[in-house]
């Protein structure tokens, strides 16, 4: 009887154990098994978004000089424009004043007064000119004038000749392949030469008049002092006009400021350009420096420009090249609408706009989420999920380690050399896992 009781109790215990295990095994198994997310790697070309430093590059940079500038120093008071500003004709660029205006003006006045005093002293000598003296004086003035004009014309012609890289023909003739401008200058020179010859002939005729040395000296001195006075007066006028115009220096044409050579408080020579401008219809390009970029940026790649306020515009790389200094660049096309949406060229040039180029690999490879690729250095691997069937027919998923060769990484995607597209790769596990572990897939 005792054996029967033991047997009954044993059978009940076995049955209870089996029942309890069947009831709870699923729950325990679910709790004890690592959960992973599974992904099927896909084949494709890795795209990477690369942020680049960029500057505006204008195709035209015209120097802007003050009109009728004298060889004086200008003191800059305020600069109202920045590089990248779009200006209209008449917009004020900067304000300033002639440096040492009073001192320079005094110099001119002194020169004028000196010449006037000398002329007065000359007049006080009471030399009266006869008709022949007047004729000689006239011929002398005419010859001086003709010489001055001939000199200007000759200089202009010879300068043009040098610029065009030509040489005068035999007997100072016009070269055969002269441009129209050169021909015009040559004509003018010839006219002035003829006028000079004429004036010289008149002078030679006047020389036959018996003009005394004192009279000659009087006439030449009078002309010299008169000229000095005229020049001083001219200078004073120009200086005054320049000083007035410096109160608001305006843009000569519609366009973009490409370069500013002045700063508030600086002084510069009035004959030097104070800025450079680009015509309004010549849109600049955005030149991105790709010297440090490990990826090869090529023409046609998409580019995204993001403004400070979050506005985003799409463009593309329209050219790549190498600068004279050896640095590599990529030019990104800018359109009027794009410039406007991003806040203008000034916002782009001041660095408020982020430039990102979307790099796309040339060859297809296997792409995986970055969380799926583990390890570091040369030892990179993934956990591949394999279906295993136990001897009792139970199917379960087991992790298997698979070494991979990482080609590139970009944000959340990794490109590997091996073809894993037919496998399931585990990632984002809820606990530490290793090779051989059973796993379950997240169902949520």
């Amino acid at each position: 009887m005792k054996a029967k009781k033991i047997a009954i109790k044993g059978l009940i215990a076995v049955a209870a154990l089996v029942a309890v295990c069947m009831f709870f095994s699923g729950t325990i198994r679910t709790i004890a098994t690592a959960k992973v997310k599974m992904t099927q790697p896909r084949s494709g070309k890795l795209t990477q978004s690369v942020e680049l430093k960029s500057t505006l590059e204008f195709s035209v940079n015209n120097d802007v000089v003050l009109p009728d500038a004298l060889d004086v120093n200008i003191e800059v008071k305020r600069v109202k424009a920045e590089v990248g500003y779009q200006v209209k004709k008449g917009d004020v660029i900067f304000t300033g004043a002639v440096a040492d205006f009073d001192k320079t003006m005094q110099q001119y006045r002194d020169s004028y007064n000196e010449a006037q005093a000398a002329l007065n002293a000359l007049e006080d000598k009471g030399i009266r000119l006869r008709r022949t003296d007047e004729a000689w004086a006239q011929a002398y003035d005419g010859l001086s004038q003709a010489r001055s004009e001939w000199l200007d014309a000759d200089l202009a012609y010879r300068a043009r000749l040098k610029v065009d890289g030509l040489e005068a023909g035999e007997d100072d003739a016009l070269p055969e392949d002269a441009s129209d401008e050169l021909k015009a200058l040559y004509e003018t020179r010839q006219e002035k030469k003829a006028a000079l010859d004429q004036a010289q002939q008149a002078m030679d005729t006047a020389e036959r008049y018996s003009v005394s040395d004192d009279t000659r000296q009087y006439i030449t001195d009078r002309a010299k002092y008169q000229q000095q006075m005229d020049q001083a007066e001219q200078n004073m006028l120009q200086l005054t006009v320049l000083n007035e115009s410096l109160k608001s220096v305006a843009a000569p044409d519609d366009g973009y400021i490409t370069k500013l050579n002045i700063k508030p408080g600086d002084t510069f020579n009035a004959t030097q350009p104070y800025c450079c401008m680009c015509p309004e219809d010549e849109l600049p390009t955005l030149r991105a420096d790709v010297s440090e970029c490990p990826l090869t940026i090529t023409k046609g790649m998409a580019a995204t420009l993001t403004g400070r306020d979050g506005a985003s515009e799409e463009s593309k790389v329209e050219a790549v090249g190498v600068t004279a200094a050896g640095g590599k660049y990529a030019d990104i096309k800018l359109g009027k609408k794009l410039i406007k949406n991003l806040g203008g060229l000034y916002a782009i040039s001041s660095g408020a706009v982020t430039v990102k180029v979307e790099y796309k690999a040339k060859q297809s490879s296997t792409l995986l989420p970055a969380a799926a690729v583990r390890g570091s250095g040369d030892d990179r691997y993934v956990f591949v999920v394999q279906d295993q069937e136990s001897s009792f027919g139970t199917k379960k998923q087991v992790l298997s380690k698979q070494s991979v060769t990482v080609l590139a990484e970009s944000g959340g995607t990794v490109s590997v050399q091996e073809d894993l597209t037919y496998m399931k790769v585990a990632y984002m596990e809820d606990r530490s896992v290793s090779e051989g572990d059973s796993v379950m897939e997240y169902t949520n």
């Binding site: 054996a3 029967k4 033991i6 047997a7 009954i8 044993g10 059978l11 076995v14 154990l17 089996v18 295990c21 069947m22 709870f24 095994s25 699923g26 325990i28 198994r29 004890a32 136990s390 001897s391 009792f392 027919g393 139970t394 379960k396 059973s438």
Partner: protein, 282 residues
Amino acid sequence: MEKRHIATRFALTLVAVAVLLPLLLTAVYSLCAPSEIKEYMGTRGNYNQDQFMEIKLAPKQFSLSQFYKILVEDEAVLRLFCNSALYTVLVLLGQAVVIPAMAYALSRFRFPGRDALFFGIIMLMLLPFQVTMVPNVLTLKKLGLMNTIWAVILPNCFTPFYIFLLRQYMLGLPKEILEAGEIDGAGTFRCFFHIVLPVCKPIIGCAVALSFADCWNMVEQPLTYLAQNADKMPLSVMFNQFSASPTGTEFAGATLYILPALFVYLYFQKDILDGIQLSELK
């Protein structure tokens, strides 16, 4: 006398050890870690002829991992265990309905064809399973029972050996017992249920125990009748897979599998011995 007894006892002890050792080792190995068992199973077929094979008598590290694996991790073992239990219970129930009644009829009544029927039962008892397999398959296919649990259960409800065993035992019952009942007004069925069955308890217990062992260990019938339905296989069939690919849980599975048979034997131990002694087979 004493020396003969000592020698006899020594010989019997050796035999007992030889018989019980596999069971003990099964229980001991079920407490080894799965990795240890896998490693040990890997030595099969790789024997080194220069040295004795290692016999593991104790685990290097005590572990219940094997039981955890088969009871929790791999629910298939429990499912197959339940399949085995289901077949056994249903077959025993079916046999309980059919066999005592048939044995009683063959032992107590005279009807045309009785001897021929009994002869047929004897023939079936002697024929191996492989001979009757094909007709069974054709019959079950015709009935639409192939690859169902009834293909395993129904044929086993009519096991000829236990009909023979019970009939022979019932033949040995004195007629006076039944006549006394008939005098008291008991009919055929009342005599059967209230007189014959209680008297045949020992042999029925023996038959139940032996039938339990048969059903618990059956392999050919499920393999033949459930070939396309692996989910309904009993655990006895799946143990064959271990030879192909060791999983490290074989011994825990075997231990679990042994336990019901052990308890059934404990329960019917006396009946089994009595049945063997009382039946006319001795």
